[in-house]
Amino acid sequence: MSELKFTKEHEWIRIEGKEGVVGITDYAQQQLGDVVFVELPEVGRKLAKGVEAAVVESVKAASEVYAPVSGKIVAVNQALPNDPAKVNQDPAGEGWFFRISIDNPGELKELMDEAAYKAHVGGGQ
């Protein structure tokens, strides 16, 4: 059973037990436009919640992907740097960025559920 949570900065995290898979939302990829570059964190790197974890750049703009929870990078999407357009094509699936351990499950309470996230971006559309 997996659960999806969202950050104000437009990351999603799919919680799978003690780990989470992280990407950017469909709203975020639409705002960015055509993604042309992705830089992923090193596997094994420890990140505090809210710290810059990855870089995503479109034709027009550069943006950061932040760690939605504190933890260690367990895996990264190796296919992404060579095919960054996956972020546009399938942001919630093949366009995932990294898998992180959830060191402090209490932090998950600070994230939004899907309904709250939709309300969060609803005002900006």
Binding site: V36, F37, V55, K60
Partner: protein, 370 residues
């Protein structure tokens, strides 16, 4: 959030059409402008492969009228305007007393007047500058009642020829009064993409009808400011405010070709002494093409270092070149590092990235020659 309110922005006569076409509108130079419709890469490709239609109505259009208009304009620009033949168009720059660039512009000789197209962000200042410096019987007539669209790409000539028989035979950098799909227009064969194309001036009330007629032709797609920027960057063309401004001279900006021999010798434009000295002795820095290695774009203001680690310049425009599928940039480097092939180091997000100086354009120009 943090963006200027769209309510305070001006709109072009094509605003409703942009909304209908699903454009994402952003603030630009005081206007609400389409940055993209379908997506920058798709629109960029449509322009390189077919034809793109751009709304550039935010740009300033004006005429200089009266006997001696060309002589009067020459006192403000280093270009050869006096010998510009009727029906011909030329690119030039307004300079200041330090030889810096106040704006870049297109000048067309209409025969009875000069027609100018200037940048949106500079137009009020340009027009004030002109009014303050034109005298006698020469004066400025602004043309706020006119819209401007650009049709750019390898299919542009066929599209124009279909809607206005003979328009496809216009020479590069020439101007004609046309009826396009029955609508009275003033067209020049020029543009800002490196492709063959036309810029078409039309009264605001007819702008939507003209745009719809052009968009109805096969292969024509609406293109926003996002792709306009990636197209001009690939073409090695300057963006005012980024690549050229009051602190860059035409010589530093690699625009010496815009300064005619007669003007080099005779001077008579603001900053002539500095510009003539730079033409004779070389400028301290030059605008060059920069090709970063790898996939990461180097954006404007990225610092440029020599292979030995000395800071020698800065990127002024940088991004992704969709035609090349890789990052490209332009910027200023010290003169002794400006030769093509020179190894550079860029610092992007705190990391060193190798790059080299390359000739521009990045994508060959395909202007109409014939």
């Amino acid at each position: 959030m943090g963006e200027p309110s769209l309510a305070s922005l001006k709109r072009t006569p094509l605003h409703e059409l942009h909304v209908e076409l699903g454009a994402r509108l952003v603030p630009f130079a005081g206007y609400e402008m389409p940055v993209q419709y379908e997506g920058i890469i798709a629109e960029h490709a449509a322009t390189r492969q077919g034809a793109g239609l751009f709304d550039v109505s935010h740009m300033g259009q004006a005429r200089i009228v009266g006997a001696g208009a060309a002589e009067a304009l020459e006192r403000l620009v280093p270009g050869n305007i006096v010998e510009l033949k009727p029906g011909r168009q030329r690119y030039t720059v307004f300079t200041n007393a330090q030889g810096g660039i106040l704006d870049d512009l297109m000048v067309t000789n209409l025969g009875e007047a000069l027609f100018l197209v200037v940048n949106a962000a500079c137009k009020e200042q340009d027009f004030a500058h002109l009014r303050a410096n034109l005298s006698g019987g020469v004066h400025l007539e602004e043309m706020p009642e006119r819209a401007l669209v650009a049709l750019q790409g390898p299919r542009a000539a066929a599209v124009m020829g279909c809607l206005s028989p003979g328009a496809d035979r216009m020479a590069f950098m020439s101007r004609s009064a046309l009826r396009v799909a029955g609508i009275a227009c003033e067209a020049t064969r020029s543009g800002y993409t490196g492709e063959d194309g036309f810029e078409i001036s039309v009264v605001a009330a007819k702008a939507v009808a003209l745009a719809r007629a052009l968009l109805a032709e096969p292969g024509v797609k609406p293109v926003g400011l996002g792709a306009r920027d990636s197209l001009r960057l690939e073409a090695g063309l300057c963006l005012y405010g980024s690549d050229i401004d009051t602190t860059t001279t035409p010589v530093e900006a690699d625009l010496s070709w815009t300064i005619a021999k007669r003007r080099r010798e005779g001077g008579g434009f603001p900053g002539a002494e500095i510009i003539r000295r730079q033409l004779a002795e070389g400028a301290p820095r030059l605008r060059v093409g920069i090709l970063p290695e790898g996939r990461q774009p180097a954006r404007a203001h990225t610092e440029v270092f020599s292979a030995a680690g000395e800071r020698i310049g800065e990127v002024t425009s940088g991004g992704f070149g969709p035609t090349l599928g890789r990052p490209i940039a332009m910027g200023y480097v010290r003169r002794d590092f400006a030769a093509a092939g020179t190894e550079l180091r860029l610092v992007v997000r705190g990391k060193e990235m190798p790059a080299k100086v390359v000739p521009m354009p990045f994508v060959p120009h395909r202007y109409h020659r014939g």
